[in-house]
């Protein structure tokens, strides 16, 4: 690995994450959603693997927490799904209700569907990174050590 790749990799990580977030929040208005955002973000992490190897990446990033991130995302989405039931509404009934006014944050509409999408994002991100980590870990065990 050359120094250049490492620098590029390091630089790319925030930018992929920002792209991902953009895709996530823009999803309602345009192509893309939590899922695509998560995969894009996962690519950013994957790049670190390619650049620094599994060990180093594992040290720099909170990989161990990935399953937890994943299941937190699932729990978040589930809460959005079943939360309305507590208020006597149908599951997944989003608030603000259809047709009602929405609070804007700039051009971003604040809406429970967004929280739902965030859950999707966390879960898929956790999955993609977690799966790669597991494969890399297995590789390490298989042949001592080495990048993907």
């Amino acid at each position: 690995m050359t120094v250049l790749t490492r620098v590029i990799a390091r630089l790319l990580l925030p930018s992929t994450l920002i792209t991902a977030i953009a895709v996530l929040v823009k999803g309602y208005g345009d192509v893309g959603d939590g899922f695509s955002a998560a995969v894009i973000a996962a690519f950013g992490v994957l790049l670190q693997y390619v650049a620094f190897g599994h060990r180093a990446a594992a040290r720099a990033l909170p990989l161990r927490a990935m399953p937890a991130v994943s299941f937190a995302g699932l729990l978040l989405a589930l809460l959005v799904t079943f939360g309305p039931v507590l208020r006597g509404q149908a599951p997944l009934a989003h608030s603000p209700a259809p047709g009602a006014d929405v609070i804007y944050l700039g051009t971003l509409e604040l809406h429970t569907a967004l929280v739902f999408d965030l859950g999707v994002f966390l879960l898929v991100f956790g999955f993609a990174v977690g799966a790669i980590d597991l494969i890399a870990g297995a590789t390490d065990r298989e042949r001592g050590q080495g990048p993907l």
């Binding site: 309602y28 345009d30 995969v39 690519f43 989003h94 259809p98 509409e109 999955f127 977690g130």
Partner: protein
């Protein structure tokens, strides 16, 4: 109440015995005796109180009712089941501990025995009282279950196991015939209530079929030819079981059922004639075989076949004398036969011998037993001053009503009976002394004495038994002619026939050396080509062909896949063939604007075809991803940018994952795969064929579907309309996150589960946890291994 009490006592006996069993084997024995005696008393009381009926809803959805009635037929068989039950249980209370001791089994094993016997008794009592067809069947099979476990009581012996299996298979499977008959009756007459069916029944082929099926089930249970072979085998059971099985339960259940459905049987003369043939065959065949047997219980077993043959014959004569005679016959036979079985058990117990050829002259050591069983034997042989005399009197009377040929056959049968009874009794007790006899304990003799006394008393005071039989006959025959068995010292035909019987029997006994070879040869022939052979050969052949079929079972993954694809292709082809195809398929237009899409599709197709060629995994993966990217392009051209984006992303990450996993395999292994031996050409072509078939059915289904214009405007139109209300601009995203958010919820759950699975598969091998390491390593692991091992591996 009069119905309920005997029923509850009989059915409740098994649980009571099990509870008493907590205290030990002896309390269980006593509990069983007391319960049987109480049930017997309750039945007598019920008869005295004039019967009664119970009718409660059971399963209204099917119109099932819990209907019980204590009618004449029920009283007779319930008294036999409980009364003989008491005798048998009294006997067992002493016999079974000895039996278990011989086999070195714990005394506690006896509890199960007593519980099963009283369960048997309860099932019989329930059966004879039930008036609902399905209820009858329930108790019918309950007797089969009880007998299965009783016959297989000595389950460590292969012989017992085979006998139990045979009894279960023969009676259990034939019971299904009965079930079919019952359900057919229900379909014909719209009810499961037997009295209602009897009222509504009219002669007809369907009715005959139904009654015939029921009769078939009954005949097998009564061990009639040709389904008799299970009964001699059932001798593998402990002796008290045989005594009970042959006299008051199981085998008696068969003729009971014939009596129960007699009004239906009567509607079809053809059926009655069929029964007559079966009964006569069983009578002659059983008697001849009984004459040739050497093992004590075998003689009695064949005797039972013959004796129930008489009963069937009497029933099928179709006269009221026959029906009452049959009922009377069952009583007389039950008393005598149970006594004789118990005799065989006692003799075997005290001498250790179970063959006539090793026994003889036992009257010296066992005078009381000899006398008591002598009376019982005389009863079975129909000598005067025993209850048996009247059974033959009624038999002759009924046969005479049908004509002289029947009387002649009856005489022959009666003579044969007398002959084998003599063969049995004299073989044990008379002649030179053979076999060392110890002193039998009192409980092994007392029940026999009691039964012998009953046989003798019945020979003097015939009225109680005759009343019972008449009441039973009335159930079958509403217009019953009273029959009054009594001693008549005149030259009426019955008496002459009786005399003829004695003479003939004396001749048969005297001429034994002359006919014995012939009879033995017949028996051997029967064994060689008889139905038991069919059963055994059938079972062996069934197992063999099953094993052959099992060997044909597909064993590798590829064939398992092919066996899904090929039948699907066949089914789709049949579907195509079965429906009109004219005008069903459209080609569709292709315009210039479609060209990019067409190109993308063609690229995907080419990529897929290329993927089948390479031998190197890397090339394969590249081909795969080219398919994925081409499809993504197609999606983009079709106005599905969301799908296109995700398809690209997924394709990329999947390719990486694939490469990552591939990197886990050692290079040599993959190389081996690449240059390994080429598959056999035949296999290769088979794969190509299956692939083509799969493609063909996919094409057929795809084309047929896409050619079909949608039946209505798609619901998607509403999604588009409602998207602004969902605060969204991208309809697809709105559908995913809002309209059909539950799908997305499910989808991400799948992903979460996949992560869980990947972690379980690829994560570090799980070690037992530190905190309970000891448990996990020793007992948990062991128990896991144990489970496996115990499954027989």
């Amino acid at each position: 109440m009069t119905v309920l009490l005997p029923l509850l006592l009989a059915l409740g006996a098994a649980p009571v015995v099990l509870v008493a069993g907590v205290l030990g084997a002896r309390p269980a024995a006593w509990a069983s005796i007391v319960m049987a005696a109480l049930a017997c008393g309750a039945t007598l009381w019920g008869r005295w109180a004039g019967g009664g009926a119970l009718d409660v809803a059971w399963a209204p959805s099917w119109g099932l009712r819990l209907t019980f009635a204590l009618d004449g037929l029920a009283v007779l068989y319930a008294l036999l089941a409980t009364g003989i039950g008491v005798a048998v249980l009294l006997y067992s209370a002493r016999y079974l501990p000895l039996h278990l001791e011989h086999q070195g089994r714990p005394a506690r094993d006896a509890i199960r025995f007593y519980a099963l016997i009283v369960l048997f008794m309860g099932a019989m009592v329930g059966l004879v009282m039930a008036q609902d067809l399905l209820l009858i069947f329930v108790f019918w099979d309950l007797t089969a279950i009880a007998s299965y476990y009783l016959i297989g009581y000595d389950r460590h012996k292969a012989e017992s196991r085979a006998a139990a299996l045979m009894a279960l298979l023969v009676t259990g499977i034939s019971a299904v015939l009965l079930l079919i008959g019952l359900l057919l009756l229900q379909a014909l007459y719209g009810t499961f209530a037997l009295p209602a069916i009897v009222e509504r029944a009219t002669p007809g082929p369907a009715q005959t079929l139904a009654a015939g099926l029921i009769a078939a089930g009954a005949l097998v249970k009564s061990a009639q030819v040709p389904a008799h072979f299970w009964l001699p085998r059932a001798m593998a059971a402990p002796t008290p079981v045989s005594a009970y099985l042959h006299s008051a339960a199981m085998v008696a259940a068969g003729v009971f059922l014939l009596g129960r459905i007699y009004p239906l049987l009567r509607l079809s003369p053809f059926l009655l004639d069929l029964l007559l043939v079966v009964g006569l065959l069983s009578m002659i065949f059983g008697s001849v075989l009984a004459l040739t047997r050497d093992v004590l219980k075998q003689i009695l077993a064949y005797s039972t076949i013959a004796q129930y043959g008489y009963v069937v014959v009497m029933l099928s004569l179709g006269t009221s004398a026959g029906v009452v005679g049959a009922a009377f016959y069952v009583i007389a036979h039950a008393l005598a036969k149970s006594a004789l079985f118990l005799t065989a058990g006692t003799v075997t117990e005290v001498t250790g011998e179970d063959r006539l050829s090793r026994l003889g002259g036992q009257w010296r050591g066992l005078p009381v037993l000899a006398a008591a069983s002598g009376v019982a034997a005389a009863g079975l042989g129909a000598l005067p001053l025993t209850i048996g005399f009247f059974k033959d009197e009624l038999f002759f009377k009924a046969a005479l009503e049908r004509g002289w040929p029947f009387a002649a056959l009856a005489t022959l049968g009666a003579a044969l009976t007398l002959a084998y009874v003599w063969h049995f009794w004299s073989g044990i007790f008379l002649g030179p002394l053979r076999g060392e006899a110890g002193r039998p304990p009192l409980p092994l003799v007392a029940p026999i004495v009691a039964l012998g006394l009953l046989v003798a008393v019945g020979g003097v005071a015939v009225a109680p038994a005759a009343d019972l039989a008449e009441a039973a006959g009335r159930v079958a025959f509403a217009d019953l002619q009273p029959v009054e068995p009594a001693y008549h010292l005149d030259a009426r035909p019955e008496n002459l026939l009786a005399l003829a019987t004695y003479a003939l029997a004396a001749t048969i006994i005297a001429a034994r050396p002359r006919w014995f070879r012939l009879a033995a040869a017949t028996a051997r022939l029967g064994e060689r080509v008889g139905p038991e052979r069919w059963y055994a050969a059938g079972l062996v052949r069934l197992n063999r062909s099953s094993r052959a079929l099992l060997a044909l079972e597909v064993r590798d993954l590829r064939s398992r896949i092919a066996t899904v694809l090929v039948p699907t292709a066949v089914l789709v082809a049949i579907g195509l063939w079965a429906t009109p195809t004219e005008g069903a398929f459209r080609v569709g237009r292709i315009t210039v604007t479609d060209l990019p899409t067409v190109l993308g599709l063609l690229l995907a197709a080419v990529g897929a075809l290329v993927a089948t060629v390479p031998r190197r995994p890397l090339t394969l993966i590249l081909a795969l991803s080219s398919v994925g990217y081409s499809l993504a392009a197609v999606f983009a051209f079709l106005g599905a940018p969301d799908v296109a984006l995700v398809a690209v992303l997924i394709e990329t990450i999947l390719t990486l994952l694939f490469l990552g996993v591939l990197a886990l395999f050692p290079a040599e292994l993959l190389k081996d795969q690449a240059v390994g031996p080429a598959p056999r050409p035949s296999l290769r072509w088979r794969n190509v064929g299956v692939g083509l078939g799969a493609g063909a059915f996919a094409f057929a289904v795809g084309w047929a579907t896409l050619s079909q214009p949608a039946a209505q405007e798609s619901v998607a139109v509403q999604h588009i309309r409602l998207t602004p209300a969902a605060h969204a601009k991208d309809v697809v995203t709105a559908i995913l996150a809002d309209f059909r958010g539950l799908d997305t919820m499910g989808e991400i759950t799948v992903i979460a589960i996949a992560l869980l699975g990947i972690a379980a598969l690829l994560g570090r091998r799980e070690r037992p946890m530190a905190s309970d390491e000891r448990r996990a390593t020793s007992d948990e692991r062991a128990s896991g291994e144990e489970k496996r091992r115990r499954e027989g591996r």
